[in-house]
């Protein structure tokens, strides 16, 4: 019985698929390093040491992972309802912009201020996410196209808003720096991690992981969302209001991405640069796919990608490998997760052959 089950689940064993995709992504990275005449082993060792070498670097890795975790949750949450949220970048920008405005203009006692700050990021992202949700539910506009359009609307809005209203003293292309006391940075955390970018955002991300897990697994809302994702028509037949769930799902996904923007722009970097669509919005797709859209999976895959992203600078300083190797590896992993059917078949055939030879021996 257990054997039969194993055979059935082999092609859809998410852990096996994820590991295969990661290995192939790393192999692709190794080939690219070797191609330009660098030693892949030293390249990877510097890449991982750059992410984990000392307390400060671990802190930076965790701060990088924070944003990825929230974006990954956003994409994963939409996936569960059968929606593809490719607009996390735009939602991050709007959430980050709202939070940056609050950080510059609102002055309140610290605990209350944090609530307002987090709320602003959440709200900004939720608004940017709910629009495609409504368009999908009400007019059947494909959410992929709608969110891409929303990305660029956010991109250009920020592009003109920041220089006009939040301009820094020196550069035209970025907003003024947020004071530490008005950001997500906390002195005790900075001290604990020897002056790294580590900030309160990490705890927001952890709370979100738990909350999302709870919503999806333990609530009626989560059940409805997943039912819509499994089979829209079946859910409708069962009396679940599909359109309402689509709107809610996109709203929550947008809110999570908005929080990611909050942690990035008021925690990690403390200012907004214009003319950049945050790449985390797309890396988050990789995080969600690799984590099999499971909150716990998202947690671990975001840490993995966090290491890659925060270690690439050190690797570039120590070797001749350009930092874009990390992005290439992440992108390759997405491609291999999309094509995981292939590994399913390969693993399947390997196991079949082994089982056959085992039978022949008997």
């Amino acid at each position: 019985m257990s054997k039969i089950r194993r055979k059935e689940s082999l092609g859809s064993n998410t852990f096996l698929m994820a590991v295969s995709a990661v290995i192939l992504g790393l192999v692709a990275g190794a080939i690219l390093m070797a191609m330009i005449g660098s030693n892949p082993f030293s390249g990877f060792s510097y890449l991982f040491r750059g992410g984990l070498m000392n307390i400060e670097r671990i802190g930076n890795t965790m701060a990088t992972a924070t944003t990825l975790m929230l974006v990954g949750l956003s994409v994963a949450f939409a996936f569960k309802t059968g929606l593809f949220n490719i607009g996390a970048s735009g939602q991050m920008l709007v959430g980050g912009l709202c939070a940056t405005i609050v950080a510059h203009k609102v002055f309140l006692p610290r605990p209350l201020f944090l609530v307002v700050l987090i709320g602003s990021g959440l709200l900004g992202g939720a608004i940017w996410g709910v629009i495609p949700g409504i368009l999908k539910a009400r007019f059947n506009v494909h959410e992929v196209v709608a969110t891409i359009m929303m990305n660029w609307i956010a991109y250009w809005s920020v592009y003109y808003f920041v220089p006009a209203y939040l301009k820094g003293p020196s550069l035209e292309t970025e907003s003024a720096s947020i004071a530490i006391t008005q950001s997500l940075r906390a002195p005790w955390l900075t001290k604990l991690f020897h002056g790294s970018y580590m900030n309160l955002g990490f705890f927001i991300a952890i709370v979100c992981v738990i909350l999302v897990k709870f919503i999806l697994d333990k609530t009626t809302l989560g059940f409805g969302l997943k039912a819509v994702g499994f089979n829209r028509h079946c859910a409708e037949y069962a009396g679940i209001r599909v359109n309402r769930n689509v709107v809610i799902s996109m709203m929550i996904a947008g809110a999570l991405a908005g929080l990611a923007g909050l942690t990035f722009y008021t925690g990690y970097s403390r200012n907004m640069q214009i003319g950049v669509l945050p790449s985390q919005g797309f890396d988050g797709i990789a995080v969600a796919l690799l984590g099999a859209s499971n909150p716990i999976g998202v947690f671990f895959s975001s840490l993995f990608f966090g290491i890659l992203q925060s270690g690439k600078g050190f690797m570039n300083a120590m070797t001749s490998v350009p930092p874009e190797i990390a992005d290439t590896i992440i992108a390759t992993i997405i491609y291999f997760t999309a094509t995981s059917v292939l590994f399913g078949r390969i693993w399947e055939s390997i196991f079949k052959r082994r089982r056959k030879s085992a039978k022949e021996e008997q």
Binding site: I153, Y155, P322, E324, A331, I334, V341
Partner: protein, 310 residues
């Protein structure tokens, strides 16, 4: 007003052409039944490989290097699109995710290679196409100054490709088969057409045209590979939808977007446009696309089987 218009028109046309090529490529792919979200990445690939080719050969080949670069970019785009074709046709992968992966791989890989070669990640070429007035035609009043002055020769190739595509897709049996593959693949298959082959052709053509579009950016108004085509590929997808998956509609939509973008770029130096903040011109194409999608939601002209594996 007239002088403004006649001075920005050549720029608008130059800006439209790469978009037109990528959108046309997207049309081939969508019509054959494969959603190609990777147009942006395929343009970047063409952009990069044409820059590399021209940089390596311009010293010896002179002006001919530009044509060679154009060819290299086209071929590179076609080859790279095979990744998407293999994933979505043979492996029945999620085409949206595969397209996203193509975008990300292209963006990261080209900058990775460019950095290794040039250090800074930018690849600058020495020359570009010299703009020319078309003899006789540029003397025609109104039309002459708008369409036939200060033109790049690539513009005419793009228009020729557009015209050939129009003919190919709507007047030939090949076009009929390709379109049928995107509407009802099993019916076409039962009529003896190789659906997979047609879809491969659709995706490869989309890669080639996007790569061509990326190369056109380089040798016309850019002159330097800088790692991104700034969302032009996504704008092409918007144009494809806004043009309702029709060859003529795409020409209109891309030109419309080209004009809007050009106006946004120059609006701060032209007094009559200064009253409108440039952000409105910049977001206009995207808002227009969303509105068009809402307006056409009842009777969308999208190919029925687009995005569905066969």
């Amino acid at each position: 007003m007239w002088s403004t218009l006649s001075s920005i028109f050549p720029y608008a046309i130059a800006y439209t052409m790469p978009m037109l090529m990528a959108a046309l490529g997207g049309l081939y792919s969508e019509r054959s039944g494969v959603t190609n979200l990777g147009l942006e990445g395929l343009m970047v690939i063409g952009y990069f490989f044409s820059a590399m080719t021209i940089k390596l050969t311009e010293a010896t080949l002179g002006v001919n290097a530009l044509a060679l670069g154009l060819l290299a970019g086209t071929v590179a785009g076609a080859v790279f699109s095979l990744l998407h074709a293999f994933a979505s046709i043979n492996l029945k992968a999620d085409q949206v995710i595969s397209g996203t992966a193509i975008n990300m791989i292209a963006g990261a890989l080209t900058v990775y290679l460019a950095r290794t070669i040039s250090g800074s990640g930018n690849v600058r070429i020495m020359m570009g196409i010299i703009r020319k007035n078309i003899p006789v035609l540029s003397k025609i009043p109104i039309i002459g100054p708008l369409f036939f002055t200060q033109t790049y020769w690539t513009t005419w190739i793009c228009l020729l490709i557009w015209f050939v595509s129009y003919f190919l897709l709507s007047k030939t049996s090949f076009g009929l088969r390709l379109r049928a593959c995107g509407e009802h693949p099993s019916a076409v298959a039962s009529a003896g057409v190789n659906v997979r082959l047609m879809r491969y052709i659709g995706v490869i053509v989309s890669g080639a045209l996007s790569g061509f579009g990326g190369s056109v950016i380089l040798i016309t108004y850019s002159g330097e590979f800088n790692g991104t085509v700034a969302g032009l590929g996504f704008l092409s997808i918007a144009a494809l939808i806004f043009g309702q998956w029709k060859v003529l509609g795409i020409l209109g939509a891309t030109f419309f977007f080209g004009i809007a973008t050009t106006i946004a770029n120059v609006s701060q130096v032209i007094p009559s446009l200064m009253i409108v903040p440039p952000v409105y011109f910049k977001i206009f194409p995207y808002v227009a696309t969303l509105l068009a999608l809402v307006a056409f939601s009842k009777r969308s002209a999208a190919p029925l089987a687009s995005g569905q594996p066969y």
